[in-house]
Every structure is written in C-alpha cells, then in structure tokens.
C-alpha cells in the first residue's frame, strides 16, 4: 500500500440517451409550410405581434398563437455580425455574415445567413430576399433557404424595422 500511485485525472463515462424529439404543434404547422417553400408566422390574439418561427405561444403575453399568417420571403436586416472564426464541422468558410432578419409581415426577427453581399456594406435596415435551395431538396427545415441576399430597395429606417406589412417596403 505504501507505493506511490498515479493520480486519476479523468475517467471515460459514455452516455447514450435516445429521444424522439417533437417540435410542438405550433412549430409543426410552420415546418409543414416551410417544406412547401412558404414562410408562415403566427399572430398573437392579444397583442397582434406576428412570430416566425412560431413556438406555440406569444412569449410576451403567454397565450397560444393560433392564427397563421403567410409572410414574404423578403426581409430587413435588424442586426448582424461578421463571423471571422472557423467553427469545427461547419462547412461555411469565414468570413461570413449571420443576421437577425425580420420578414415582411412579421414583427419578430429570426437568425439566418447572408451571402452574395459585400460584408463591409451590410447594414441595419438593408433589404434582403431569400435564396432557396432547389425545390426537390426542400425538407422540414429553415435551411431550405440557403441564405438571404441584398436586393435593390431603399433601406428601412430603424424605427420602421419589424413593422412592415407583408406587401413589402415602399420607401
């Protein structure tokens, strides 16, 4: 017992837990439409805000969002960041842009990629549109949209971002 023992600095404890994950009834309605190439939000019956992607409730009011609202695939940049560090297993090469985008007709932003743009020119209020994958590749996922690219429309003033109708920006 007197002999010196090597300290134990770590043990391997593999854990495998399998789950059948479900998105939820509200998100499932959204995903079914995305598979058809349509972006749909859900409207809060109390405060009228339109959420995309919907998660089943208006987080502000705590009530179920039942009404579906078909949205445009045009959007406005609410905020963005330029990613310069490679992320392991991510096929996208830096530098690239992750942006908070608000689709026309929605009040809440979602996060997606931007491309076909000059990174240094990307700005808050910039108008963008979805670039979809070929239809045969569509699945129940937001990456049916490859990325958003800038379009030739006037910038949206900061105060107007998130308040555009589904018909778009006439600025």
């Amino acid at each position: 017992m007197s002999e010196q023992q090597e300290p134990v600095t770590g043990i391997e404890v593999p854990i495998y837990l399998k789950y059948n994950f479900t998105a939820g009834a509200g998100p499932a309605r959204f995903l079914s439409q995305v598979k058809k190439g349509v972006l749909t939000g859900q409207r809060c019956p109390r405060c009228d805000q339109v959420y995309i992607p919907p998660r089943g409730s208006c987080a502000a009011c705590g009530v179920a969002t039942e009404e579906e609202v078909v949205l445009s695939d045009k959007a406005t940049v609410q905020s963005f960041t330029i990613v310069s560090i490679p992320i392991p297993n991510n096929p996208i090469q830096p530098p690239y842009i992750i942006a908070n985008l608000v689709a026309d007709g929605a009040n809440i932003s979602f996060i997606h990629l931007m491309s076909e743009c000059v990174n240094e020119d990307v700005r808050i209020g910039q108008r963008v549109q979805a670039v979809w994958k070929p239809e045969e590749e569509w699945d129940y996922a937001m990456d049916n949209i490859r990325y958003f690219k800038p379009i030739d429309e006037a910038d949206v003033p900061v105060g107007q971002i998130g308040k555009l109708p589904v018909s778009g920006w006439k600025g």
């Binding site: 837990l17 789950y19 994950f21 479900t22 009834a25 998660r55 502000a60 009011c61 705590g62 009530v63």
Partner: protein
C-alpha cells in the same frame, strides 16, 4: 410568520404520450385553469413565479426556459426555476412569501417523459463516478428495495398488490388519471413479474403533463375572494447518494421532514404520497405514522399517472382540493426525488 394560503390548483390529465405538444403548449392550458380559479389574467398578476422541471426528460437543452414563454413575461417578471419537482418550487415560493418579498406566487411543474427512455434517463441522477456509468435504471433499484423488504418479512407481495388495487379503484374518481379501473388484488397477483419482484402494476406509468398552483398571503386570498387552505408546515430532508449507506427499507428523511413539518400535531384525514412503486407507499405510510383512519392516495397517487417534476406539487394540490371541498380538515402531502425515496418533502395542509 405570515400564513401561506393555497388558492388554486390544476393538473392536466396524465397521458402516456402528449404527442406533438411542446412544453409551452403543455403548460399554457394548465396555467389558464389556475388563473381562472382566482380571476387573474397571467403571471403579471402575481408577485413571483417558480417552476420545476428537468431538461433531461425531453432531451432538450434549456427546455425550462421555453416554459417561460407560457407566462407572459413582458414587462419582466420575478421568476425562478428548480431542476426538481415543482414541490420544491413551492418551497422556494413559500420562503419568498414568508420573507415578505412577495404576497402571491405562481408555481408550476411540467414533464414530457415520453420522448426518452425514462428509467435510463433517470440513471443519470445517480452519482457520476460509480453508479451513473453503470446506467442503473430506477425500476431496477426500486426492485432491489422491494426485494430487501420481502426477504426481511417487512411486507408481502399481497400487501403490494393491495396498494395497486386501491390506487386503480381510487383513480376511477380522478379525471386526470392515466390508469384506473376496478382491479382486484388477485388480478394484480396473477400478473407476471416484470423486474422481480415488481410487476408492471407495482410501477408508476410514464406520463406527460403539467401542474400549477397559486399560493398567497391570507390577506391576498381574501382580496381575491376565493376559498383557500393553509400550508401550516413544510420541510424536506435528503439522504446520502450512496445507496449502500442507506437503510432502503425505511425512509428516515421522510420521518425527519414530517417532524419538521409538524405532522404529529393533529389527526390526518387524508395523505397523498408520492410513491412511484407500490412498496414505497408502505415505507412512506410507516415513516409518516399513518393510521387506518387516514385516507391514503384518494386520487390514486402516482401509480395512476406520474408527471415527473409535477407529481410532487400535485400531491399537495390533491390535498388542497379535499380540504377546500370540506372532505378533509387536515392532510399531509409528500413529494420525493432521487432513487429509492432519497429526498423527501412533507407538507401539512389545513382548513382555514
């Protein structure tokens, strides 16, 4: 010290699989029920909110944060969470009220256990070096506990079957129950063993669902003008995670918590015990010193439906319902957590 009143409680029906429902969609209807019971709109109308849940159950990181989407948290609210049964969220809320930091609180718990393999998921609550790596499931540990008691002559398989039979029959009057029916002791004993000596009927089912409660000061209850019951005692104790150091045939921590909560100060009309396995109801009844005059698990208990992270709160809610209806004057509710009744909370609920 300020008296604590329970003014509202609701539990969703325990179901084997809530299907496409996510956390928020499971919680919202239950919250709406308790809001209606006291006539408020949402969590803005209480001073504090505390929830109990465990992300391991549905296998979704930060699922408990998604739960907050059910509250209506704009403008910001005072909110907290325990990675435990919501009975402990109630405990935290009671401390908040007693300290005078809040006059009312909403407590809720939810669990969607169906997406995973619950007994194996729960193996990860064991100590991380010796037991969790072996993936020892909760049912096997409970079976070992039952075996100890049978071998020491502390109970018989018939005693266990009687617990099951009473649960199934009581659950026939519980609209939230998952398993109910006129099942005789003989029918239970005729079932083959599942994990010896346990039969499937000795084990609680896996259930999805949520429960919510509103508590407040007595002044607030009068202001709301709703019937209420008083929480006159609450205490919880935990035993070592080392199963080899525990006497698994007894529940020392339940007995100590019962003393702390003042269970012995009067007659007990009703007791709702969180016993996921039939033999554990016997251990708990003994530890609490219950006598024949006490109605045990009139709801059917968790053998009729076990909402992980909400069943403990539901036990307290079931006693509250019976005190407010006049069916009972004084009741005891018990909540448990961990393998083989490791951690136990005891609450005394009395007529106002």
């Amino acid at each position: 010290m300020r008296d604590i009143a329970i003014v509202a409680f609701h539990q969703s029906r325990a179901v084997a699989d809530a299907g496409a429902c996510n956390e928020v969609e499971m919680i919202m209807p239950v919250l709406n029920e308790v809001y209606q019971q006291v006539g408020i709109n949402n969590a803005q109308d209480v001073d504090f909110v505390c929830s109990g849940s465990c992300d391991y159950l549905q296998g979704a990181a930060f699922a408990f944060v998604a739960g907050v989407d059910a509250l209506g948290a704009v403008p910001p609210i005072k909110e907290s969470h325990v990675e435990m049964d919501a009975a402990w969220a109630l405990y935290e809320s009671i401390l908040k009220l007693r300290m005078g930091h809040a006059d009312s609180a909403l407590v809720y718990g939810f669990g969607k256990s169906s997406p995973g393999e619950l007994p194996v998921v729960l193996s990860q609550q064991l100590d991380p070096y010796y037991l969790a790596p072996q993936w020892i499931d909760t049912v096997s540990l409970a079976a070992m506990q039952a075996r100890l008691m049978l071998d020491q002559g502390m109970l018989t398989e018939r005693d266990m079957a009687e617990v099951v039979s009473r649960s199934r029959r009581n659950a026939m009057r519980n609209p939230a129950a998952q398993l109910a029916g006129d099942v005789s002791v003989e029918q239970v004993l005729a079932e083959e063993t599942y994990l010896s000596p346990l039969r499937k009927a000795d084990c609680c089912p896996v259930s999805d669902g949520a429960a919510a409660m509103i508590i407040c000061t007595v002044d607030k209850a009068r202001e709301w003008g709703v019937p209420y019951a008083l929480i006159t005692g609450i205490d919880h104790r935990i035993e070592t995670h080392n199963l080899g150091m525990r006497d698994l045939t007894d529940s020392v921590s339940t007995r100590q918590a019962a003393e702390g909560a003042g269970v012995g100060a009067g007659a007990i009309d009703v007791a709702e015990l969180y016993a996921p396995f039939s033999h554990q109801e016997i251990i708990l009844s003994r530890a609490l010193g219950l006598e024949g005059s006490t109605s045990v698990n009139p709801s059917g208990g968790v053998l009729a439906g076990n909402l992980m992270m909400a069943s403990g709160l539901s036990r307290i809610g079931e006693v509250f319902k019976r005190v407010v209806s006049g069916e009972a004057e004084r009741g005891v509710a018990h909540a448990t957590s961990g393998p083989c009744l490791q951690h136990n909370l005891v609450t005394v609920v009395e007529k106002a």
